[in-house]
């Protein structure tokens, strides 16, 4: 190899150095490119971390929301039948028809249609056509049962038309009409739902959120309505005018008089009810008033049943008045009584305090000479003091009964025909005597099997009647 001259050497050294420097520079450039890439990647990952952290921060709140919604949804879908529940739904419809009294003429399910919503695959709509004959009240009861059914059913169309001619019939005294109903329900397809995320400690957290879940469930309550029957109202699909030449029922004035009479009787009962609410009544007054109310309600009820059986209130407007002013107030009185009865049935006997009050009251009346009053007081509660032997009130009840026996004895003694025509008081130790009903009796002698003359004083005579000492003042 030829020797390099100086210039060549310089060129070789400089060139090599330059090449190496260039390579190093290229390497730096390449490394900087890598640095940029890595920096960019780190930046992207930092952003991803920031996003992830932001998501992580939202997890507790979202978990809470998902738990609430999931539980709510589980409740909500109960109002929508699934495919299997549709058979049950048809059976239920039949039960409603039987309960309400409508007669089914035709029942046809329509096509299943997807719902026009954000989640069409999960909900389907099914329509039903239902034709029936029924009275207006039967029909109202039927659709009310449908609308109050636990599953969601919506009545979309219906029509009412009168049946005339030979086919016209009556049920329960009301005209039958023809009804056509179109209703729809929605089926929830749970299979089409996505997979539920598994949330840690789900059961515990669900229990913690119970109140919130319940609060939200209440926001979807389906509107319900309680139909209370005809209540004397007339059928609005019937011409209420009388047929020429054949008026229905007694004259209107007579019908009005019947209603007025019943209103008067009910007013008396209402007065008794008001009187019973007064605070200063004794237990015995209350029992007496209750007895009067019970007897009064029974009497009015029997009368009302007779009026209904004889169809004495036939004028359409008066029928409504009869129901509003007689039947309904009577039912209220009856139910108020029934409620009171259920309360008293829990303990059929007077309390110890009440029995003591009874004894005290009878004693006071007897001392004042009002024996009949004392007897009535006992009789008004007689059934409520037949306390069994095991009851701690038994002794008090026996005392009350003993007091009543005394009162009865005193009344019987008072009613005895004892005409005292004269008396002899022997102050020297001999026996005194009296002249009663024309016969003379000395102390210790029996006037009858139950009555003995015990002692005679100048102003009063002591008798022993059925073991009880009684005084007759002269």
């Amino acid at each position: 190899m030829a020797k390099l001259n100086e210039k060549q050497k310089l060129m070789a050294i400089g060139g090599s150095a330059f090449a190496i420097c260039l390579l190093a520079g290229g390497g730096v450039y390449w490394a900087n490119g890598l640095i940029d890439e890595v920096t960019q990647s780190i930046k992207v990952q930092d952003e991803a971390i920031a996003i992830a952290e932001s998501k992580i921060r939202k997890i507790p709140a979202t978990e809470k929301e998902v738990i609430i919604l999931r539980e709510n949804l589980a409740e909500y879908v109960k109002i929508l039948p699934d495919t299997q529940a549709l058979n049950e739904f048809v059976t239920t419809l039949n039960q409603f028809a039987t309960t309400s009294g409508v007669l089914t003429q035709n029942f046809q399910p329509g096509k299943v249609a997807k719902l026009d919503t954000k989640t069409p695959q999960k909900f389907s709509k099914i329509e039903y056509d239902y034709d029936m004959t029924a009275t207006l009240w039967q029909f109202l009861k039927f659709i009310n049962l449908i609308e109050n059914y636990e599953r969601f059913i919506s009545i979309t169309d219906y029509s009412v038309s009168q049946i005339s001619g030979r086919e016209a019939e009556q049920r329960d005294g009301d005209q039958v009409h023809s009804f056509k109903v179109k209703m729809e329900t929605y089926v929830y397809n749970a299979k089409a739902s996505g997979q539920d995320v598994e949330i840690p400690n789900y059961d515990k957290r669900r229990d913690d959120l119970k109140e919130e879940i319940w609060r939200r469930i209440r926001t979807i309550e389906i509107e319900k309505y309680e139909h209370r029957g005809g209540r004397g109202r007339r059928d609005i699909f019937i011409d209420p005018r009388d047929h020429e030449g054949k008026p229905d029922g007694p004259p209107v004035e007579e019908q009005k008089a019947i209603i007025e009479r019943f209103i008067g009787d009910l007013q008396k009962l209402k007065d008794l009810v008001s009187k019973r609410r007064k605070p200063d009544l004794t237990i015995f007054d209350i029992y007496t008033i209750d007895k009067d109310i019970a007897e009064g309600v029974d009497k009015v009820e029997i009368g009302a049943q007779e009026v209904a059986a004889r169809q004495q209130i036939s004028a359409s407007p008066l029928r409504l008045r009869w129901v509003k002013e007689v039947v309904e107030p009577l039912a209220e009185l009856r139910s108020a009584r029934a409620m009171k009865d259920t309360r008293t049935h829990t303990d059929p006997f007077l309390s110890g305090e009440e029995i003591m009050q009874l004894i005290g009251s009878m004693t006071k009346l007897a001392e004042e000479g009002d024996l009949e009053g004392a007897d009535q007081r006992y009789e008004s509660v007689a059934q409520k003091i037949i306390v069994p032997l095991t009851d701690p009130r038994h002794d008090l009840a026996i005392a009350a009964k003993a007091m009543h026996i005394k009162v009865k004895t005193a009344i019987d003694f008072k009613n005895l025909e004892l005409k005292i025509q004269g008396f002899i008081v022997n102050k020297e130790g001999g026996r005194s005597g009296i002249l009663v009903n024309g016969s003379v009796f000395e102390e210790g002698e029996y006037l009858s099997d139950e009555l003995m003359l015990r002692k005679v004083q100048e102003e009063q005579v002591y008798f022993v009647f059925r073991g009880l000492t009684l005084i007759r003042t002269l």
């Binding site: 939202k58 919503t117 969601f152 979807i220 699909f237 005018r241």
Partner: protein, 221 residues
């Protein structure tokens, strides 16, 4: 005189490295060392640090990503449930309770037994609902007893006061044609049809305007 150069060959003047070459070599060496050093700093310093940082960040992200995916699934569940709940709520709200309407209408027509104000009855009733909006139309052809049009007006007035009237979008006006009966007492009655239009229970979503299509070259011509 013979001059004998006793210096080794490489140290003789003719073969000795010239200062230029030496200087150039030194300079080149410095430049090479500097450039390699620079590369080393960049590659093994900055880049290595960043790669370490990237490993840490990737590990952190992987750790958080699992929870983020869990959140995404939760969010997807939430959106899905909300849509389903909304559908059920819409279904629930779309219903009108017709047994209530009928009961209230019967109350209006019966008017508590007061026949002086009006005494009406109907031949039939037809209810039709729009399948989408659930807006309903009730048509009731019927009669109002008497030859006093005021009674027809009274009936309409009472219908307007009824609880269901708040859901009405419109109602037909009072009117009627006298149609005496041959077999009823009293025979006079006005025949008319009452039409009640109920408001929709479902609000239709506003229809989106179609986006204008970009014109093609052929259309432009």
């Amino acid at each position: 005189m013979i001059r004998i150069n006793l210096l080794p060959t490489e140290q003789r003047r003719g073969t000795r490295i010239s200062p230029k070459v030496l200087g150039t070599s030194f300079g080149s060496t410095l430049a090479v060392a500097a450039s390699i050093g620079w590369f080393g700093l960049v590659y093994f310093g900055q880049l290595a640090d960043l790669e370490q940082q990237q490993i840490r960040v990737t590990a952190t992200l992987q750790g958080k990503q699992k929870e983020a995916v869990y959140y995404d699934k939760l969010l997807s569940n939430e959106t899905d449930y909300k849509a389903r709940v909304q559908t059920i709520q819409d279904i629930g709200k779309s219903r009108r309770v017709w047994s209530r309407f009928m009961d209230e209408m019967i109350d209006v027509v019966n008017n508590g037994g007061d026949t002086e104000r009006h005494l009406a009855w109907f031949d039939s009733l037809q209810l039709k609902s729009d399948p989408k909006t659930k807006a309903a139309v009730v048509t009731m052809p019927g009669m109002v007893q008497g030859n006093d049009l005021a009674k027809v007006a009274n009936l309409h007035r009472d219908i307007e006061q009824a609880p269901f009237a708040r859901d009405l979008a419109s109602k037909s006006s009072p009117g009627g044609k006298q149609e005496p009966s041959k077999d009823r007492i009293p025979p006079e009655a006005f025949k008319s049809t009452i039409e009640l239009r109920f408001k929709p229970t479902v609000q239709e979503a506003p229809k989106q305007k179609p986006q204008p299509q970009p014109q093609t070259a052929a259309q432009k011509k």
